[in-house]
Amino acid sequence: MTTTPTPQQHLETGSALGHSVPRKDSAQKIRGQVKYVGDTEVPGMLHGKVLRSEIPAGRIRSIDASAAEAMPGVVCVLVGTDLLDIDPYYGHAIRDRPIIAIDRVRFAGEPVAVVAAETEEQAEAAVRAIRVDYEPTPAATDLDGATGPGAPLVHEEPARGGAFHGLGNLPERLGNVCYRYELDWGDLDAAFAAADVVVEGTFEFGSAYQYSMETHACIAQVDGDEITMWANCQHPFLVRAEMASVFGVPLSNVRIIVPFLGGGFGSKSYTRLEPLTIAVARKARRPVRVVARVDEAILTSRQHSCRIHLRTAARNDGTLVARQAVCLFDTGAYADNGPRVVATAGDAAPGPYRWEAVSVVADCVYTNVSPAGSYRAFGAVHQQWAGELQVDEIARKLGIDPLEIRRRNLLRHGEDVRPGGKPLDGDLIGDVEKAAAALGWDRPRTEWVGRGLSVGVLAAGAHPVSCATVRMEADGLITVNCGTTEVGQGARTVMPQIAAEVLGLPVDRVRMGGTDTRFTPYDRSTGASRSTTVAGLAVQRAAEDLRRQLEDMAGGEADPAEYLNLMRGHFGFAGGELIGRADVHPEGSGSYAEGPVFWEVAVGAAEVEVDPDTGVVRALRTATIADVGRAINPAFVERQDEGGGIQGLGTGLFEEVLFDGGHLSTETLLEYRVPTTRDIPREMSCVIVENADGPGPFGAKGCGEGALAAVAAALATAVADAGVPVNQLPLTPERVWRAIQSRNDKRSEV
């Protein structure tokens, strides 16, 4: 006779926890049965197409849509003047962006009009028939153009804080600088003056595109003051609140249904196509679906590019003493998530070392190009490669092995990463040693082969607010309701694993569906590696609440085999249901200063081969560390690290969004190249570290972002180790080849 183990026995045997359970959504995905937003149809639905600005900056003198409106199948054309009955600006950090351009355009590609028609072809044809008369104005199309004396101002109106900036008091705008993050401790001048070695350089980081394979898509339907959307947004609850505010309707009247997402990586965080889709549906009085093309998706969100001036000081014994970073981030025409990216980058700039003095100034700068927002590992990926190149430069000058200099200087568990914040909660020295060992750090190397290490931490978890319910129905099956969206990370498998573990049930008895903000409990967002840690903790607590109810009915320990009998006893028939509920909320004041929820570890190693004749860098092998506290599903952890690592390879070696005079020149995947099966290293190892030191369920903490920053930085340090230090990412063949030539020129001069 088999018996179902008690919850406690389950914890001991780990039957649901720590096992690589196959994805619960796999059966649908391998059969092509998943309905993404672009596959979804609503009765009476129209198709929306967007007319975008052809110039980077200018005033709109007039728009003539009369020819377009008369075309077959066209129901309406939305223009800026249709929005004057509401406060049509949005932006969760700074409320600076109109739903579509109203009186002026600030980037080439900014939405200027939206057509709703019976078919996509009709809408597209009508878009081409709209005539816009622009008066071009001077444009600040890059950091130099936006920060010099007399730079044209991208925004002239006073700044208004958005609802979710979480950054304390929003500072006054300084020219085109919309946000500044500063971090200081110690006496910087004295530390630099007393140092034996100082290295200094300027580092340029190019903007990558997140490239989720599914582009942005939204269907909106407006009935009076009720707004319903089907949208592929990562943070539906934040979008809901923002749309309620912009359109002046009660928050709970906005309903967002989120099916599966075809990837996100930050590109679908916060508000994207939703406001313009609602606005055109409101005018059309019919539901409208808008699906972006790839070029439109790139114009909708991308990674920040940045320039970092960095100085690092050390003593002759290899002790790091001081670091100064002055950084400019190009956020494009609207702030988007720029302030948060810049704050996170500011925290990442020192690197997780023990400094006597640090000074960081990071500016978020408006320019007349498309807006930049969140991309996996933001902040850390921007800073880590530059800081780690300087640690290695010091090591080379002093003749110290790169692993050894890190051992001597890395923070230990419990030490402050920055004053006042959460102390370090990982084991970085152990992590980097494991990465070095996985790569074969001490093996002999040949000419033009380089090996690099990189260590960083990333403020993770965002704002710790998640709610969940765990519901047991009259057939004994369990449904987890939790607002985390399934972007591919595996939430709809991991959350059931957590609940199954608590309840002592097999994981196939537990399921989780998509998000519908009308019924699904609140979750702040799906990003910042927070789902397993924060939403997972809410699910664990909700499952415990359900178990307590069953224990009360049992008058003691509840045997999972008896759950249905207990419930039937309680309700007196084979009906009713039990709902466990719980939330996670900030402890203390809840301010960002006390954060982050946890420090995500970004530790990796890479081995590369540089072709001296062409400058082509080939990644031979990589190793990443998933310091996750507790791996709920080890295969998912490995796959997250591998996927993040490959994106780090793209960022490190060749992915770059380019503009020419403010116009996007990498419009398709022919110009913007992402890694294929031929680019990947033959060996990618992921070492899972489980020290049960995370704040999430069973000691878990998030992963998946750190690997991107770690691999990009380790590729840079490895190329430098091969003899070619380059202060620019990505490490394109041209840049590497030029660096080799300039090194050869210097040698021949000697």
Binding site: S212, L669, T676
Partner: protein, 151 residues
């Protein structure tokens, strides 16, 4: 124009415009939305289907070019039981968001028709035209190897 397409074993007579792409007809006219549109430039492979048994990117093929031909989409790949590539994608954790998965499975199944026992290199080469942004491709390659071994 009126054309005949045999899709997943079923004959359909469809009125199409000469400019209509095969992927459009499959998705919008026949409701087979398992085939995804990714890039529109024949780069990403999300739209891969089989035409007369060969894998092809349906975003750059006109529907009229397929008149009288047999098309298999992801919805029709399982013939009663799942195709070995589909089975292996689940067991080897070869997918995450799933958007590339239909095209990737169709490309892999076609590769295995051409090369029965491919080397790792031949699998990588065969899948070079299919992008995946979530995984690092390693487990996709492993899944195809496993499917090849399963015959």
């Amino acid at each position: 124009m009126r054309i005949t397409l045999t899709v997943n074993g079923r004959a359909h007579e469809v009125d199409v415009e000469p400019r209509d792409l095969l992927v459009y007809v499959l998705r919008e006219r026949l409701g087979l939305t398992g085939t995804n549109i990714g890039c529109d430039t024949s780069t990403c492979g999300s739209c891969t289907v089989h035409v007369d048994g060969e894998s092809i990117k349906s975003c750059t093929l006109l529907a009229v070019q397929c008149d009288g031909r047999a098309i298999t989409t992801i919805e029709g790949l399982a013939n009663g039981a799942l195709h070995p590539v589909q089975e292996a994608f689940t067991s080897e954790h070869a997918l995450q968001c799933g958007f590339c998965t239909p095209g990737m499975i169709m490309a892999a199944a076609s590769r295995l028709n051409e090369v029965k026992d491919p080397t790792e290199e031949q699998i990588r080469e065969g899948l070079e035209g299919n992008l995946c942004r979530c995984t690092g491709y390693h487990n996709i390659v492993k899944a195809v190897q496993k499917a090849a071994a399963a015959g």
